[in-house]
């Protein structure tokens, strides 16, 4: 069954100030609730395409459809559309107008004319998700780049969009923030939001995307899954990109006679799973859901039950805050799900403390390892006490 399409363009063409065409005959379909990446070198029209999705730019030719209906460019129609499609621009300074953090996060919801209580709730939730609650009264110009990026992201989250579009979201971010952001987008997708990311970071695109679209000189040259695109080095080169390192290593291993390329590992955990003997992983993964509080003694009591020195990972904003308040020592505070799974495959037990809403994602990853790489992970669900 074909997936439901939420956004679509048909033969889209656009040019800036009568110059060369920035978009040429672009027909793209964005499926609902999927992780979509728009990949392309600099200046290939990714941002221009984004701005068509929420009606900021109007096509010179062709049309844009949202939920099967052509966009309504009247001010009422655009207002309705933008309440459903939020955009996070590459440079946070472009989109932060208000002088304090909370004012800026509230900007979008207040423009929607939502009741005060609802705005308060959304601001609270969005700031919590990006871990900026304690900075809520800070003037925005006193924030670091990473903090501004978080605020920009919170501003989009507060709109509770059906579609979240992010332009180069990881540009200029440190690894921790990058992982936190990707973790958060995973969570949003899990909860039903369609997330579209524009990037030229091939590694990120390869590991994250469920659906990949590639732009080259304003033309859509590829739509499909990542492997189908990256397997053709000429196509990749012509698009001004390169193959992801993991993809290349996997291909070279095949050349060395160390197995076939398929299944394609998209991250280290999957790669290790592929290399390890298939069957049940020697380590056990202990799942400890966190609901506001986390104590070192709870983790210690789980570690005591483990046969070896178990590693501890924290996943999710709520769990991270609880861990910080409870002064919990952890081995992994970001990218923890992947790291704990890797530890289990390598023979160590691991305890992952996570926000309850992330459980579905963890189980999905485990099931994916089993299905595609023949690696079963034993899991034990623990109770917070």
């Amino acid at each position: 069954m074909d997936p439901e399409i939420i956004l679509e363009t048909q033969n889209l063409e656009y040019s800036y100030h009568n110059k060369d065409l920035a978009l040429r005959d672009v027909s793209i379909k964005i499926p609902k609730g999927k992780k979509t990446i728009l990949l392309g070198a600099n200046g290939t029209g990714k941002s221009t395409l984004f701005l068509h999705f929420n009606g900021v730019l109007k096509p010179k030719k062709g049309k844009v459809l949202y939920d099967g209906k052509e966009l309504d460019y009247s001010s009422k129609g655009l207002s309705k559309l933008r309440s459903k499609i939020a955009v996070v621009l590459q440079n946070p300074d472009d989109q932060i107008f208000s002088t304090t953090v909370e004012e800026d996060v509230a900007f979008g919801p207040m423009n929607l004319g939502l009741p005060r209580e609802e705005v308060e709730k959304r601001v609270e939730e969005a700031l919590f998700l990006v871990n900026m609650t304690e900075y809520r009264s800070r003037p925005s110009q006193q924030l670091s780049f990473g903090q501004r990026k978080r605020v920009a992201f919170a501003g989009a989250l507060a709109m509770k969009p059906e579609v979240l579009i992010m332009d180069e979201p990881t540009a200029g971010l440190d690894p921790q923030m990058t992982h936190e952001l990707m973790e958060l987008t995973d969570e949003l997708v899990h909860l039903g939001t369609t997330v579209i990311i524009s990037t030229h970071d091939v590694a990120m695109a390869y590991s994250w995307a469920e659906e990949l679209h590639v732009l080259q000189n304003g033309r859509l040259v590829f739509s499909g899954n990542s492997e189908e695109f990256f397997i053709d080095p000429v196509k990749v080169h012509l698009a001004g990109l390169s193959q992801p390192v993991l993809f290349e290593i996997n291909a070279h291993l095949e050349s060395l006679g160390k197995g076939k390329q398929d299944p394609y590992p998209r991250n280290i955990t999957q790669f290790i799973s592929k290399l390890a003997p298939s069957g049940t992983a020697p380590g056990t993964l202990h799942l400890l859901p966190v609901n506001g509080t986390l104590k070192q003694e709870w983790i210690d009591s789980i570690i005591k039950k483990c046969s070896n020195k178990a590693r501890v990972g924290i996943s999710g904003t709520g769990a991270r805050i609880a861990a910080s308040v409870g002064m919990v020592s952890a081995d992994y505070v970001f990218n923890s799900i992947e790291n704990c799974l890797t530890e289990a495959i390598l023979g160590y037990d691991a305890v992952i403390c996570y926000d309850e809403c992330l459980e579905g994602i963890i189980r999905e990853k485990i099931s994916n390892l089993s299905k595609n790489f023949g690696m079963d992970i034993k899991i034990v669900k623990e109770v917070s006490s």
Binding site: N91, D93, F97, T99, E103, F107, N111, P139, Q142
Partner: protein, 264 residues
């Protein structure tokens, strides 16, 4: 971060939560009272009020930027007063002489006016600075909306305020980059680099405008910046205090007329 000093002062002010419109009315009444008075005592009292408010607002720590603003303005006023002193006619000549072949004289009227202007200006400056160091621009914009100043103006104030910091950051980055490439080596270079930075900054500001417009559209901007955290509203006290102060200062002016006689 040095660009943000004044902003930090404002957000840490002990008068931050006072009604901005109330403060604004008080400042206007004090300024008018000081300007209307012909007794020197009134501007001196206004200066004492302004200085007290300023010290209270900044928690008795005058930040460098406020000190610089005060010093710079005081110097300009002082020079202006010197000019007034020499060019104003009066009934009695107090002093007469020549300097570098140019004749000059000081009259009682000149001295009186120069002193009055000096004291009034410094008093006005302290009063206005007490307002400026305790009222964030968004609050000021809110006060502007309350007194029905067209919303386009108040929105412009907010946008200019926000983007001025970004441009200051740009300026700082460009300045550092130019220094790294010996842009300020020698006087001629210094002038050339400074002018290039000014041009660059202007072009950047146009670029920022374009991007800001897109971002505002993306976030459903409908021509008005909504206020999330509203400042304190004006209360009856804030009407009474300025009026009362004005009346007291007016009475003080009548009572103290002739107390300080300059150039008699």
């Amino acid at each position: 971060m040095h660009n943000h000093n004044i902003d930090e002062v404002v957000y840490n002010s002990r008068m931050l939560n006072w009604s901005p419109l109330g403060k604004f009315i008080l400042v206007i009444f004090l300024l008018v009272a000081s300007l209307l008075a012909d007794s020197l005592v009134v501007p001196i009292v206004v200066f004492v009020i302004g200085a007290s408010l300023l010290f209270y607002s900044t928690n008795f720590k005058i930040p460098k930027i406020v000190g610089l603003a005060l010093g710079g303005a005081a110097l300009t006023i002082f020079v202006g007063c010197i000019v007034i002193l020499f060019v104003t006619a009066g009934e009695n000549m107090l002093f007469q002489g020549t300097f570098l072949g140019i004749g000059y004289s000081i009259t009682d009227g000149g001295l009186r006016l120069a002193t009055l202007v000096l004291v009034r200006s410094i008093a006005g400056m302290t009063v206005m600075l007490s307002f400026a160091t305790s009222t964030p621009v968004p609050y000021l914009a809110h006060a502007m909306r309350q007194v029905h100043i067209p919303k386009e103006l108040s929105e412009l104030v907010i946008l200019i305020y926000r983007y001025s910091f970004l441009l200051l950051e740009e300026l700082h980055t460009m300045w550092t980059a130019a220094s790294c490439r010996l842009g300020f080596h020698g006087l001629k270079n210094r002038f050339r680099t400074t002018s290039k930075i000014a041009v660059g900054l202007f072009i950047r500001s146009i670029d920022i405008t374009d991007r800001a417009q897109i971002a505002l559209q993306c976030r459903n901007f409908n021509g008005e910046f909504p206020s999330y955290r509203l400042p304190k509203n004006i209360s009856a006290v804030w009407i009474a205090v300025p009026i009362l102060s004005f009346i007291l200062l007016y009475l003080l002016n009548i009572c103290t007329r002739g107390w300080i006689i300059i150039g008699a």
